[in-house]
Amino acid sequence: MEPDSQLVAHCLRGEAAAWEELVRRHTRRVYNLAYRFTSNRQEAEDLSQEVFLRIYRTLASYRAVHGEFTTWLTSVTRNLLIDHYRRTRRDRLTDSIDEEGSPAEHKAAPGRRPDEVASASELSVQVQQALGKISPELREAVILRDLQGLDYREIQQVLSVPEGTVKSRINRGRIELARLLTQMGVTGDSAS
């Protein structure tokens, strides 16, 4: 498989096939990151398009010496996600006020027996619900590390924060996620 950096070079020479290959190779990563962060499929789709549009326009500014293409792509995605988060903050605040009257979402999942095995897809949905409740700073750190598989150095580049901060955010993010899942009745005991 041709490395990303070479595909980028082909793209810059005007080869449409190279760009198509680059898009096909990375759409899933970008879409998943966007979906895990926003918890909304339509927003994730729109944001994915926005990300690739930005990448397409600024492809000439990518330099392989500064890091992996994936890291650059993730940085662009993350920046757009944060912009989107700030843009839509007001709407979300209104929504959360509207939802205050609804029953508490932290209560244990009804009907779950301790010996019930949570399927991976079921757990995925529960994790998504919990992710949506933690702060964006911790959320993005956990997504990048545990769902996207980036190492600390790459996350450091993407978030532009020191390594100590990255580690601290991942740790706190996991703890919050674990507590929320416990409140939802989703625990290692019930799943195993």
Binding site: V23, R28, R36, A44, F52, L123, N171, R179
Partner: protein, 213 residues
């Protein structure tokens, strides 16, 4: 050093990843042995951290790659091929046809108003001075036609009102024997009016013009 729950939380990731130094590791384990809450939390974090990387990825919506390509390089590539088609499609659209019709109607009305023969347009027709004169002339002609029409109407109403007046006026009893019977008298008046109709029209027209002037 006293190892608290706060320490446990702060160093949990390092502990679970085996990154703690031997001394801290011993303190951590001693605390976990005593504190059920921290032990439960460590177990839950360890479990979910192990599960997260294996969660199934979200399925990319069908057509997303295509839409991305279309929004980036795709449209740029297709633009050259379909540019003429796009132009033709634009020309055939109802909006364009409506616009064209409106422009044609406007030009027709203008040519009528300015007394320009569309088949024989000369440079003089386009001279602003001539355009102004032609428009001025057309305006006066239209005004005069309108005025004549109004005056004709006045005459007609005048005749009609006279006739109604004549038929409505009761015939005095003492004059009845002198005059012919009423129907005959009315007929005479009608004949008179018809005879003098043209001169009456002219008179009323003049009066009307006088009034206008």
């Amino acid at each position: 050093m006293t190892w608290t729950c706060i320490h446990s939380e702060e160093r949990l990731a390092d502990y679970l990843e085996g990154q703690l130094e031997a001394g801290e590791r011993a303190l951590m384990e001693a605390h976990l042995a005593e504190c059920a809450a921290c032990r439960g939390l460590a177990a839950q974090v360890s479990w979910i951290s192990g599960r997260l990387p294996h969660l199934p990825p979200e399925v990319v919506p069908s057509g997303l790659v295509f839409r991305i390509l279309e929004a980036t390089s795709g449209t740029a590539g297709q633009k050259r091929a379909t540019s003429w088609k796009t132009v033709l499609a634009g020309l055939l659209s109802p909006r364009f046809a409506l616009g064209l019709g409106t422009v044609a109607a406007t030009l027709f009305i203008l040519s009528q108003a300015l007394d320009i023969n569309p088949r024989k347009i000369t440079m003089d027709d386009l001279n602003p001075v001539n355009l102004y004169r032609a428009a001025d002339q057309q305006a006066h002609l239209t005004y005069a036609r309108g005025l004549r029409f109004v005056n004709d109407l006045r005459v007609v109403y005048e005749i009609r009102s006279r006739l109604e007046e004549a038929s409505a006026t009761p015939v005095p009893e003492q004059q009845a024997p002198k005059n012919a019977p009423a129907p005959q008298s009315e007929q005479k008046l009608k004949n008179d009016l018809l005879r003098h109709g043209s001169s009456l029209t002219a008179a009323v027209t003049l009066a009307g013009l006088g009034g206008e002037l």
